[in-house]
């Protein structure tokens, strides 16, 4: 197995936000405040912490690079959430293309039987059932039941309408209940 550093994008430290705040300080503060929550969100979507951290790092680097275009720094968090969702989708696409000859297997997701990090069979069963749902359903459930966001903010992060969020969540819960019943 070989490993190599991923590409790290940097921006000049003197860059400022549209409101004049220094970019690096602003991004640092955002990282301190929200990184854990976003990594946890990404973990629910991609299944392992390592990949989740990568996704979140990329999202922050994207924020740092795009700060000049961000007129309202209050929108940085929604931007990060949307970036994390996009990053997680990219991970899924990449995984679907990974050659069977890849040198290293992906780490077991938190919902797998091999992952001992989640205490309790019921939790693992629920997470496994969620993992069997469509991608958008998983995203909506994570935003609604982990981040406890209102439908409007979920819609903004996922770039869908509020009604789509509502209907997707309803269908996802029904499917989830059915899957759990089947498991029993």
């Amino acid at each position: 197995m070989t490993s190599q550093p991923s590409t790290i994008r940097t921006v000049p430290p003197e860059r400022t936000t549209a409101t004049g705040e220094r970019a690096d300080e602003f991004v640092d503060s955002m990282y301190r405040a929200h990184a854990v929550e976003l990594i946890r969100l990404a973990l629910l979507l991609v299944g392992d912490q390592h990949t989740a951290e990568d996704v979140v790092q990329d999202a922050y680097l994207g924020l740092q690079g795009g700060l000049g275009r961000l007129r309202d720094t209050g929108k940085a968090l929604p931007y990060l959430r949307a970036s994390v969702v996009n990053g997680c989708r990219s991970v899924h696409r990449r995984r679907s293309r990974v050659s069977p000859h890849a040198a290293a297997p992906e780490p077991p997701p938190v919902w797998s039987a091999e992952a001992a990090v989640v205490a309790g069979e019921d939790r693992r069963a629920v997470l496994a059932a969620v993992a069997g749902l469509p991608e958008r359903s998983r995203e909506v459930l994570a935003f609604r039941y982990f981040l406890d966001l209102p439908d409007g903010e979920i819609a903004a992060a996922l770039r869908v309408s509020r009604s789509t969020v509502s209907s997707t969540a309803s269908r996802a819960l029904v499917m989830l209940a059915r899957k759990l019943e089947e498991q029993q």
Binding site: T2, S99, P100, R124
Partner: protein, 502 residues
């Protein structure tokens, strides 16, 4: 369902608690990635690469075609034009334009847009004569037709084939307007038509033009089925009584652009108007995009045209009065910002431009004879539109005061030094010289059009024609937006005898 939600929250909490804040990487810390197998070129990988590789190859081919083949083809076409051997067949929008026989307006001549050679002719309905013509796509034309002794205008349409042959005239959606239409513009789909017109009114001896009552009009047609349609007609007075020079519509018909002439009473402006707002009752003089005074206190706009996408207006301007310098300029104005840029400036004093339907090509007809020294101008400066001098008998703002005998091409009373807008003793010229009242004088008009006719469209057209007495002319093809210029052989164009529209 609540049970499911509770279990879901609990599972999420259990999973996410495994992410400990103290254990996560700092921002920007290098991560490691698993590199793919060294055997990435396995059969499956190659198969997956085929799609992007094929797409890249297709993009490359398109790029080569766009960068090499098309320019070569265009260069070949231009070369053909240089040699005056261009084929007299092809896309009508780029190959043909219309010339209106100036002296009598009794036929239209389809001309090669490349060489100016006549390809075909089209006669008006019996007893009528042609006026303004317009096309949105270069294939379907609408033409205004007037009749001696009346004041209204008939609208017909026809098409031009790939060989330049016109079809028969058929009535437009609205076949008659009770106004004297001076100029036309039409959208690409042919369903929005804008016109400038002089109003008609019933008076002693019949229907006459109302002096100075110029209007802008919009005809919008909605086709509801094969056999039914509705047409909305909207009129609006020309802002501030200005004299409309030229009209153009965007491809979708949503934006109307028109320019106004510099007169003793009104400035030379370019307006951009939303046709939707105009149809809902708004005045058509809502937005002045540009005032010619930007180019000099006595500058005037002679022609203008808006690109089909509504992004740019091209205009020609010249200096009048003491600032007259026997030069004309072609400029582009960004409709969004109002900023203008100079494309080219050339010697000449009297320019009329026609633009291809795509507005990527202009043909400019320019008087090339050396100018007289600047003449004293009676119109007071510096204001380009002061109140009319008391010597003008016409209540109408005029570029060429009707009282002027105009023995020379430079009537001293005119704020415009451009002589071509009004053949001095010939019939008056409503579109350029909005003095329709004198035009009813029978003795003044050599035209076959009876005197009481408004000398409307045909005379308007004739007015726009450059005076044949002061040849020679330059005929210049200008590529847009860059402004590359090519001088064409003026002889086939017979500029003195025809007024062109494209």
């Amino acid at each position: 369902m609540n049970d499911i939600e509770t279990r879901l929250r609990d599972a999420y909490r259990g999973a996410t608690d495994t992410v400990r804040p103290e254990a996560i990487r700092g921002l920007g810390e290098h991560a490691t990635v698993i590199s793919p197998s060294a055997r990435w070129w396995t059969r499956g990988a190659l198969h997956r690469l085929m799609v992007p590789l094929t797409a890249a190859a297709a993009v490359l081919v398109v790029g080569v075609v766009a960068a090499v083949v098309v320019p070569n083809a265009l260069r070949d076409a231009r070369s053909e034009a240089r040699n005056a051997t261009a084929p007299l067949a092809g896309n009508p929008a780029t190959h043909f334009l219309l010339g209106l026989a100036d002296s009598t307006a009794n036929y239209l001549s389809v001309r090669s847009a490349i060489t100016g050679a006549a390809v075909a002719t089209l006669a008006p309905p019996a007893g009528k004569f042609f006026g303004a013509a317009a096309t949105g796509d270069g294939v379907s034309y609408v033409v205004a037709v007037a009749k001696a002794g009346t004041c209204g205008t008939w609208l017909y349409r026809f098409t031009i084939s790939r060989t330049g042959q016109p079809s028969r005239l058929t009535p437009y959606w609205t076949s008659y307007e009770s106004e004297s239409i001076e100029d036309l513009a039409i959208s690409r789909n042919g369903r929005t038509l804008a016109f400038s017109a002089l109003t008609c009114a019933r008076g002693p001896g019949g229907v006459h033009l109302v002096a100075g009552r110029a209007e802008l009009g919009l005809l919008s047609t909605k086709v509801t089925s094969k056999a039914s349609y509705t047409t909305t007609v909207t009129y609006s007075p020309v802002p501030r009584g200005e004299v409309v020079n030229s009209l153009s519509l965007t491809a979708d018909g949503r934006q109307l652009e028109f320019s106004t002439d510099l007169t003793a009473r009104s400035p030379s402006d370019i307006y951009v108007v939303s046709t939707k707002e105009a149809e809902s009752g708004h005045d058509m003089g809502g937005r002045v995009l540009l005032n010619a005074a930007r180019f000099g206190a006595s500058a005037a706009i002679s022609d203008s045209v808006m690109t089909p996408d509504g992004s740019t207006v091209y205009l020609t301007s010249y200096q009048t009065g003491r600032a007259f310098n026997a030069r004309w300029a072609l400029r582009a104005v960004d409709v969004a910002t109002g900023r203008s840029r100079l494309i080219t400036e050339k010697p000449g004093y009297g320019v009329h431009i026609v633009a291809s339907p795509s507005a990527r090509q202009l043909i400019a007809f320019v008087q090339a004879a050396p100018p007289r020294p600047p003449t004293p101008v009676a119109t007071p400066s510096p204001s380009p539109w002061p109140p009319s001098p008391s010597g003008s008998p016409s209540p109408v703002p005029s570029t060429v005061p009707s009282s002027s005998p105009a023995p020379t091409p430079w009537p001293s009373g005119s704020p415009s030094p451009v002589p071509t807008v009004s053949p001095s003793s010939a019939e008056p010229t409503p579109s350029r010289s909005p003095t329709p009242v004198p035009s009813v004088s029978p003795s003044s008009s050599p035209s076959p059009v009876p005197s009481q006719t408004p000398t409307t469209s045909p005379s308007a057209t004739a007015a726009a024609t450059l005076d044949a007495a002061i040849q020679p002319f330059d005929v210049i093809r200008i590529q847009l937006p860059g402004g590359a210029i090519r001088y064409l052989n003026p002889v086939p164009w017979d500029v003195g005898g025809f007024f062109y529209s494209w």
